[in-house]
């Protein structure tokens, strides 16, 4: 049985400097967030399939049927919201990690709630990363950088993108300095990294190329118009009251206390969360 190469050892294409075939499956019940994440991903040269629920995602991946091998769907990354009605992002993560075909696909969880226990649980279950909403361009770029090699956005000659890169680098550095000064010096290395940590962006591992089949453009938006929610007919929604969450940092006027963008490993991120939640 051919093993699918771990996605982050995909060769970095130095020549073309863009990644036409990174296909991301985005899962979010909010139509606004779907639109934003789709745009964020497209702007970083990813192909995007956006769906509105975990069950639609499983359907797309062919994991909802009993039959073992669906028409092969090539997905390089799955990014999903945590809090969704029906199936949570966590449940979706478990199903994906439990599947033969997709267990090696990196899964990133997004959540507006910055809860350590939640982050822990997701990472333990095999999530690659955890992004606190609202998602920014720098979050997506960083993700793409360490997963698929140093990312340059499409339209290299497009000045606007160069400006964006410059702007982001600027704010990246400012925030990084801010965050670094907030990190407690008493941080000890975490006991066990939950997942294989992604290598830093500079390592362009010269691994053998993945299946050379040229992938046709695969941009599609599967977010089917769902019936308008009205109080009487809306399905039971997942309540996030269960975990004792502190006042969400996203309410504060400035950016959340920490941003994962600046930190290298998921475990480092957890340390910062701890100290910032106090």
């Amino acid at each position: 049985m051919a093993t699918k190469n771990p996605t982050f050892s995909r060769p970095w294409r130095s020549g073309t400097d863009h990644f036409p075939d990174v296909h991301v499956l985005a899962v979010d019940d909010s139509i606004i967030d779907r639109k934003v994440i789709e745009r964020l991903l497209k702007i970083t040269s990813c192909k995007v399939t956006a769906v509105e629920s975990g069950s639609r995602a499983l359907q797309y991946l062919g994991l909802d049927q009993e039959k073992s091998s669906p028409d092969f769907v090539d997905v390089d990354l799955i990014i999903t919201d945590y809090c969704m009605p029906g199936m949570t992002g966590y449940e979706l993560l478990k199903k994906i990690k439990g599947s033969a075909n997709f267990r090696e696909v990196p899964v990133v969880i997004m959540s507006s709630e910055n809860v350590v226990a939640r982050i822990d649980r997701c990472l333990e279950e095999g999530a690659e990363d955890f992004i606190v909403k609202p998602v920014k361009l720098s979050d997506v770029k960083r993700l793409k950088d360490y997963m698929f090699g140093p990312a340059t956005t499409i339209h290299e000659d497009n000045n606007k993108f160069n400006n964006i890169n410059k702007q982001d680098k600027g704010s990246f550095n400012k925030r990084k300095l801010q965050q670094m000064s907030e990190i407690s010096p008493s941080n000890s290395p975490s006991p066990s990294p939950p997942t294989t940590s992604p290598s830093p962006p500079t390592s362009a591992s010269p691994s053998p190329p993945t299946s050379a089949s040229p992938s046709p453009p695969r941009v599609s938006c599967l977010s089917s118009p769902s019936p308008p929610t009205s109080a009487s007919t809306s399905p039971p929604r997942v309540s996030c009251l269960s975990s004792p969450s502190p006042l969400s940092p996203s309410a504060s006027p400035s950016t959340p206390p920490f941003s994962p963008s600046q930190l290298d490993s998921p475990t480092m991120r957890l340390k910062v969360t701890n100290s910032d939640e106090a």
Binding site: S30, I31, I32, D33, K35, V36, R39, L40, I43, C83, P85, S112, K133, P134, K136, L137, N158, K160, I164, Q167, P228, T229, S230, A231, S232, S234, P236, R237, V238, S239, C240, L241, L247, S248, S250, A251, P253, S254, T255
Partner: protein
């Protein structure tokens, strides 16, 4: 009729005041970064989705809080959605009210919830009006042949 540079100045002043007064936060700037020649209406499109979604949510909230026996989980779930969507477009004041709103849901405090509903509706209407005004200004500038100033 105002000149292009006058309109542009107005635009900059107005946008700045929206940030200063907390109606908008950095996330709105993020959205603007995602707009370009290939997607020239991105911000308007996202914000329009937000308006539609918000109006549904406000109705749902009103209905849910009018029930004889209030289902606070249901109310909270609507507020959670509202908090998320407002935060995604940078409507900071709306998001802030949602935070308090959720606390009242957790406490099952009906009075608190009703007050928050009024507050969140108020803040939503304010930001909606301001964004519409902003978009109108943008249109005026474009129609006068000018370009929208990039905000820092």
């Amino acid at each position: 009729m105002a000149s292009v540079s006058q309109l542009q100045r107005q635009f900059v002043e107005y946008t700045t005041s929206l940030y200063n007064e907390g109606y908008l936060d950095d996330q709105f700037t993020q959205l603007q970064k995602l707009q370009d020649e290939s997607n020239p209406d991105f911000v308007v499109e996202v914000v329009s989705l937000f308006f539609e979604d918000s109006e549904k949510l406000l109705n749902n909230l009103a209905t849910a809080l009018q029930q004889k026996i209030v289902d606070y989980k249901q109310v909270d779930s609507h507020v959670h959605q509202f908090k998320g969507s407002s935060s995604s477009i940078g409507a900071q004041r709306v998001t802030n009210v949602c935070v308090h709103f959720r606390n009242y849901c957790e406490e099952k405090n009906l009075d608190g919830c009703l007050r928050c509903l009024q507050q969140v509706k108020h803040e939503y209407i304010l930001v909606r009006n301001k964004l519409e005004a902003l978009f109108r200004l943008e249109q005026q500038i474009l129609q006068a042949g000018g370009s929208i100033p990039m905000m820092e």
